[in-house]
Symmetry: C2
């Protein structure tokens, strides 16, 4: 039995192993957005900003997510996209270490993070130090202004040791900025407990907020008055409606806002988070490890010699909520599985990626999915000519 | 008869004169977002990105808005908030004029625009030249890198001469960046016709996209390969799913994207734009001028000596889609009107602002609204003690 399968609307005949790309639809989101559109926007119009707490949504939803990533209230705010938030916090962090010259990241970091780290490094005349996943701590030195990493790797699911790397950065006076895109709602994260400085993350994966749902930014309380972000839009102002001629950032996490909050999308996300009500992230993690161990064991038992090679760490404590395998014809493998109703995804180069969302996945889903995988490989479905041309999917 | 009143759901007993802050709810948006949530996200899950054209929404909706602001297809994209887009294009513009030293804007520009212009000017070592609305052209000189203005002033409704100012900027080799927050869907705009370089705008005012709906960015075709934006997220990459290690911007307007598109909000906006189907912006403008002339004439006729002073230009061709009056107790005037079901808004300092959305407003609404205004002032409702404490509204 999945932890909260009854809280999701899942299509018949599909085993959905792509919740790490787009989470499934939680029950209740249609009713919520309909209510916001009809009863709030439609009826109370402009008054809804106060009457229905729209202005507070970035904080209210932020705190709900904070409770899933080990952040006490008042440190997480919903704003913009992960990319834009990363941009803001990269600038904010580097400005706190003006005499230092490097950003440490991982060569295998998510490309969008790489692009933004490169761009901000150029804008602030820093150098980027690329380290292998195993060698991050060794790459941190007295020149390091910031260590910026994605906690769980998007391709392999490899999970960094947040506590150890954060401590190593702090030992030399560097800051850390963690991207939690593949962590939030998937694995236990203790931002406050690890003394993390800054974090960003996405909500349309394991938090099930819907396609392109708003992202979040975390800034540790102790840094609130010190960090400034470059995109000084009115919602980050101390008094946005006083219409003052110069910018003065509001105290607290609100200064990381820029434009008007995306109310409808935040309402959908808020409703989606109900799926986590009463659920312990440790229970989610235990279930996830059990699902992933079953997945790997069944692949070992049924697909031996068929060209699959585990790309994820073998140790379940070092994996995020996915298992990945390399295969020469990985794209075809994924497409053939999709035709059978088993939805994983493909990532260049050669990675078959299977996301495991314990809220709605059961052991029986994993068992059946691997049976399909074994059948695909045995019958050569993955090398069918129709899979030679690739379509992009997120 | 309003142009398209039947295309909106308006609450009974309300005369809504705040469509310049949050547009009213168009019919059809609930059905559309429900369909996207249930039939697309819920049923087809990750496959929807291709199957339901989600990835194209920023361009498709952008082109629809382009048709309302005089922009040929392929030059408008939906992304982020107005603040974030302004930030991107300010940086993009200044990088094209590296040897110039100033940005010209208006002291009375919307504060958020002021904040962002100040911030980007500092980041790029430019100075900000503040000019009065009437003196913009005189302030442009050979040092000017960029003229950045809001087309229609948020307080007074005063509308700049886009063609004349753009031409003046171009004569000395400067670029122009127009904020169309109070123009798009309200007045005829000819971006291509005026040879505008760059523009941004908001969609929750006269375009009725819902609270916090996505913003747009316009970049003239001739600049597409020249302008770069600083927030180099993956969606602006030439091949976002190739997962390459370095950023290479896509050709065309797509390079102004950063993060994953906000699909649900874009779908709502797309449905909201149906209200403009078959509607000429010139018919909208004619109707708006007629409504505003009636408003001012009725105020002259019924509120003489009550302390109201027209803050908008008297010439309807120089006004956007609102009329504003100063009043010593402006906050109380607006609150007393709201209690009577006439919803305008208050802007510091002392401005009573009435937005006129011709798609859903009739002459009878204007007539009745001004009757209420005269009654409020005559009976002293606006100086009631309960209006001494102010609440923020957008």
């Amino acid at each position: 039995m999945a932890i909260a399968r009854q809280r999701f609307e899942l299509p018949d005949g599909v085993i959905y192993l792509d919740g790490n790309s787009l989470g499934a639809r939680p029950r209740g989101v249609v009713e919520r957005v309909q209510s916001v559109i009809v009863d709030e926007w439609g009826r109370d119009l402009i008054a809804s900003w106060n009457a229905h707490g729209w202005m507070e949504l970035p904080h209210k939803v932020g705190d709900r997510i904070g409770s899933l990533i080990g952040a006490a209230a008042g440190q997480v705010v919903m704003a913009d996209s992960t990319s834009v938030n990363l941009y803001k916090l990269l600038h904010g962090a580097l400005a706190l270490r003006p005499d230092r010259t490097t950003i440490v990241t991982e060569a295998e970091n998510f490309p969008s993070d790489r692009y933004l780290i490169d761009a901000v490094a150029r804008q602030r005349s820093c150098a980027v130090v690329l380290a292998d996943a195993e060698a991050i701590v060794d790459a941190i030195d007295a020149n390091t202004a910031l260590v910026c990493l994605t906690h769980v790797n998007y391709r392999t699911g490899r999970m960094h040791d947040m506590a150890a790397i954060t401590a190593a950065a702090h030992r030399v006076g560097a800051l850390v900025l963690w991207d939690l895109a593949h962590s939030a709602g998937a694995v236990p994260v203790e931002l406050d407990g690890c003394d993390v400085d800054l974090a960003v993350g996405c909500t349309y994966k394991f938090l099930n907020g819907g396609p392109g749902s708003p992202a979040f930014a975390y800034v540790a309380q102790r840094l609130h008055d010190l960090v400034h972000q470059p995109i000084t839009g009115w919602l980050g102002h101390a008094e946005p409606f006083a219409m003052r001629p110069t910018f003065e950032p509001v105290a607290g996490i609100g200064r990381f806002l820029a434009g008007t909050p995306p109310v409808l999308a935040l309402a959908v996300l808020d409703a989606a988070l109900d799926a986590f009500d009463g659920v312990s992230m440790h229970a989610v993690h235990d279930k996830m490890m059990s699902l992933s161990e079953l997945f790997i064991a069944r692949v070992d038992a049924t697909c031996d010699g068929r060209g699959l090679s585990l790309a994820s760490p073998a140790d379940p404590l070092r994996r995020g909520s996915q298992v990945s395998f390399t295969h020469e014809h990985g794209y075809g493998v994924i497409q053939a599985l999709i035709e059978r109703g088993v939805v994983g995804d493909y990532r260049e180069p050669a990675i078959c990626r299977f996301g495991l969302a314990p809220l709605y996945l059961r052991h029986t889903d994993i068992w059946d999915a691997v049976d399909h995988l074994a059948d695909v490989l045995q019958h050569g479905e993955h090398i069918a000519p129709r899979f030679q041309q690739r379509l992009a999917v997120t």
